[in-house]
């Protein structure tokens, strides 16, 4: 079963990362690098991607004529995706364990961030189409 582990944050939340010391940032990336390596070796990591900060995020819609309409204004409370991991695991419990490991990543002074990680199952496209065809 594939699960996506999403690290999210508000724009104000991401601003606080900019105040982290160089050493704290390095420690955090070293932690992520080691965890990614561990999940790669265990065969559970499918993919992980960090996203650019929310400053340049755009919402795009098709206008009435199909032409694109972009908007860059978001509510303050909006949670932006900062990065994600897709893991292929035996159970939801294992996905939660990996999410907890991410949540325990070091923040300023090496104190765990205890950052919330949203965990969602990836849908099997064929199952979804079968469900839709019922």
């Amino acid at each position: 079963m594939k699960y996506i582990l999403m690290m999210t944050g508000t724009k104000a939340g991401t601003e606080t990362y900019k105040a982290w010391s160089q050493k704290d940032v390095e420690t955090h990336f070293a932690f992520l690098h080691a965890l990614n390596q561990e999940l790669t070796e265990s065969g559970e990591l499918v993919v992980t991607q960090p996203l650019a900060g929310p400053d340049e995020a755009k919402i795009v819609r098709a206008g009435k004529d199909g032409a694109l309409v972009t908007d860059g204004v978001f509510p303050e409370a909006k949670e932006f995706l900062l990065g994600y991991w897709i893991v292929d695991v035996e159970s939801s419990q294992r996905a939660y364990e990996i999410a907890a490991r991410l949540s325990a990543g070091p923040g300023p002074g090496g104190v765990p961030t205890n950052m919330p990680i949203e965990v969602r199952q990836i849908m099997n496209a064929r199952a979804a189409e079968a469900k839709g065809a019922k």
């Binding site: 390095e26 755009k58 939801s92 939660y96 325990a104 189409e129």
Partner: protein, 132 residues
Amino acid sequence: MKYMLLMMGTQSDFDSYAKWPKETLQANFAFMHAFNKELKDSGVFVAAEGLAFPDQAKIVRAGSDGEPITDGIFPESKEFLAGYWIVDVESPEQAYKIAARASLGPRPAGMPGNMPIEVRQVMGGPPEELLR
């Protein structure tokens, strides 16, 4: 440049999708299938995934002992990821054009507006000097 196109929705949006008639679901899946094929044929497709509905979403934190603490209660306004595409394109404008196409997926008659698609650049990874 890689961009992620995110289709987002609140729990109430998902509740309304669950009530879509069969024809609309089929038209929507056919649209997505053709859209993905077109992206693959044009060489910009990197990945796409659909996520399970948010009723089984969990927020996980590490407890003081490092064990996972799960929570399934979310504010009503929370936006959930429904699915995404990653495309490899020449410019942000090209990513926006593709997002506008994705925005046009069929919906039941009488439903307002086209679906908003959030567009974000995917980073290559942390700077080399931070990887020890």
